[in-house]
């Protein structure tokens, strides 16, 4: 047990951080939901960052750190599935990747060259043509899209399906971890300067304690997510995803509430992270789905 970053991990985190900083802020004139950056995507591609997990010195744990950091950017990018799930797929598949559950719209579906399709217990891979996909307008703060018509599906074996479900959970937890931390940081910044009754909102204990509780949840999620990325264990992945959806659900309304009227605007960037989080709450069966996975992998049958 040693939580110090290796020299390779430190170098990677520094490089990702430098890159991410340019995409951290919301453009002042952007007042919408789906803020994505093709430039960020291109730079990640050019830097071979999507292949981090396959580099022995770095591995999925380092990839999860990168996903977490990039999820803090105001500009969204399809990193989680590309960095954490694609290396586990049986074969070479082009990115971007997207998840389609039971035919519902999903994140980055309209841009995807590889789809992971979940229908009930079945998992399949499809490589759609662009005309089989379409963008949909959404308030989920990701570019959302859906599939038009029938796709050619390659059904995964039970073993591959189980493994991919686990890595989807790790990817979800890593993305959620970054989103939650960015949402907290953004709220802390606001309530540290916004004054009412002659003092900063953040000096009132009613808000200080709630913020601290949010931070405890965020920190716990980060550790669970890192452990799951390190171990690749199905139980660890289920716990991380469970804590991600549970913590996100518990803090999203709180953070908007603490922003007061600013929490209703599209001027403040908070909604970019919180409405992305909302897109994650239902994925992989939602909290019930993660709970079933925890029960299966963490509680031995009597």
């Amino acid at each position: 047990m040693d939580f110090t970053l290796t020299a390779d991990q430190s170098a990677l985190c520094d490089a990702i951080d430098r890159l991410a900083q340019r995409f951290d802020a919301k453009p002042i004139d952007f007042h919408g939901f789906a803020l994505a950056s093709a430039e960020l995507d291109r730079e990640l591609e050019e830097g071979s960052y999507f292949d981090i997990a396959q580099i022995p010195e770095l591995g999925p744990l380092s990839a999860a750190m990168a996903v977490e950091r990039l999820a803090r950017c105001a500009h969204a990018s399809e990193t989680a599935l590309s960095m954490l799930v694609r290396p586990q797929l049986p074969g070479e598949f082009a990115r971007a990747l997207a998840l389609v559950e039971n035919g519902r719209p999903g994140r980055f579906v309209a841009q995807a060259r590889t789809l992971i399709l979940i229908d009930g217990e079945e998992l399949a891979i499809a490589e759609p043509a662009p005309e089989q996909l379409e963008a949909v307008h959404s308030i989920y703060a990701y570019p959302m899209g859906r599939v038009k018509g029938e796709l050619k599906r390659n059904r995964l074996s039970a073993a591959d399906a189980a493994s991919i479900r686990s890595w989807l959970r790790v990817a979800l937890a890593a993305e959620a971890s970054g989103l939650i931390q960015a949402a907290i940081d953004s709220t802390v910044e606001h309530i540290s300067v916004r004054k009412q009754f002659g003092r900063p909102l953040g000096s009132f204990q009613a808000l200080r304690h709630r913020m601290a509780e949010c931070q405890v949840l965020a920190g716990g999620l980060r550790w669970l997510m890192l452990k799951a990325a390190w171990s690749g264990d199905a139980g660890d992945a289920a716990l991380a995803a469970s804590h991600a959806q549970d913590s996100g659900t518990r803090i999203v309304y709180d953070l908007h509430q603490m922003l007061g009227a600013m929490g209703m605007t599209l001027e403040h960037p908070l909604h970019l992270w919180t409405y992305r989080l909302k897109a994650l709450f239902s994925e992989l069966g939602g909290r019930g789905g993660q709970a079933s996975a925890v029960a299966q992998h963490c509680f031995a049958a009597a």
Partner: protein, 378 residues
């Protein structure tokens, strides 16, 4: 970053489990009626002596004090295994975790020679004379006074909610020697000193856990002072940094959860509602575990834990609460004669957010020191 245990750490954990299997009596869970009950205190004395003889009581202490200079991970694995087993060391865990190390750092040679060897041998119980009726979370407002009287001090006042005081040999006592936060000093006071009266307070935790302790002109030599006059705050801060994640409560909470789930499975009552709540509780336990490991990792690298230790503590409170709520909602019979271990866990869990500094104080520390939020005006 590496989450794996070393082979040596795995061996140490296995050694502890073998020791516990050999030395805990078959009816140990039924004995667990209050961590400071007479029965448990007597058991702890014998048990700690055996642990000491096996070199397992204070492995992380320096060799000159009976340890073997093992690292903080060894100390925490020890704490995990003991707490998960229902803490058979009783109140002696405090000696091991922080009282011994604090005396090693701040004690005079005479104090060290007098008090540390009995701790290392597992034959002495201490209590912590901190809280007072008017000074709980606001510890700096304590009123117990120590007045100089020649080369002695006379101590008068009252302590309250003092754990293990009923059978303690010595009190690690905070008393005021002058006004203000910097006017508090520490005295090491034998509990058989004339003028000390101990009264047990009935508690939900179990028999014999918390007490009132009255000091009526208790006369102690000036040499009973730990450190210098007014040094209490600095010493206590250093001591509590060891204690904040000192009790791995998540370990027993996790064990209790596993047991409750198994029982529900056997009864055919582990349905969707229970599964969702159990999953949340298990995630909370594991989050608390990893948070605590992160603090131990800092300690292993020579870093004094900052506000992250408060976050780890609060995560543990969440875990205790989640497991406690799960059991009462889905396996209520466990607390009605159904399962001694689950009941003992439930009784102890209430302490998680109260003892060693209220959880709200931890939230304040997280808000100020971790989130850098503006302070509340005083």
């Amino acid at each position: 970053m590496d989450f794996a245990w070393t082979p040596e750490q795995q061996r140490f954990r296995a050694e502890l489990r073998a020791f516990l299997a050999e030395h805990l009596p078959p009816n140990w869970e039924e004995l667990a009626d209050g961590p400071a009950s007479e029965l448990q205190s007597q058991f702890a004395n014998g048990f700690c002596g055996k642990l000491a003889a096996a070199g397992l009581l204070v492995p992380h202490w320096p060799a000159r004090w009976g340890g073997r200079d093992a690292d903080p991970w060894t100390a925490f694995i020890l704490a995990e295994e003991m707490w998960m087993a229902g803490e058979p060391r009783g109140g002696q865990y405090m000696n091991v975790n922080w009282i011994g190390p604090t005396l090693m750092r701040f004690g005079s040679p005479e104090q060290q020679q007098r008090y540390i060897p009995p701790m290392a041998q597992g034959h002495t119980i201490w209590c912590q004379g901190f809280s007072e009726p008017e000074a709980g979370s606001d510890l700096a407002s304590l009123r117990t006074r120590a007045e100089p009287d020649g080369d002695h001090y006379r101590i008068s006042g009252q302590k309250i909610w003092t754990s293990y005081a009923g059978y303690a040999d010595t009190c690690f006592l905070l008393a005021r020697t002058s006004p203000g936060k910097n006017g508090i000093s520490i005295f090491l006071v034998p509990m058989d000193t004339p003028g000390i009266t101990v009264r047990q307070i009935p508690s939900v935790i179990g028999e014999g856990d918390i007490h009132e302790v009255f000091f009526d002109a208790v006369c102690v030599p000036a040499t009973a002072m730990l450190g210098g006059e007014g040094q209490a705050w600095d010493i206590v801060r250093a001591a509590l940094s060891l204690e904040r994640v000192g009790i791995p409560r998540f370990a027993l909470a996790s064990r209790a959860l596993q047991r409750a789930v198994k029982r529900l499975q056997q009864l055919g009552r582990f349905g969707n509602g229970a599964i969702e709540q159990a999953a949340r509780a298990q995630a909370a336990c594991e989050a608390a575990r990893l948070y605590s490991y992160a603090i131990i990792d800092q300690r292993a690298h020579g870093i004094i834990a900052g506000p992250e230790a408060s976050a780890a503590r609060y995560a543990t409170v969440n875990a205790e609460r989640a497991v406690g709520e799960f059991v009462v909602e889905h396996l209520p019979e466990a607390l009605a004669g159904g399962d001694a271990l689950l009941q003992a866990h439930h009784q102890r869990a209430i302490v998680a957010g109260i003892a060693s500094g209220a959880a709200e104080i931890q939230l304040n520390l997280i808000a100020t020191e971790l989130l850098k939020l503006p302070r509340e005006p005083r």
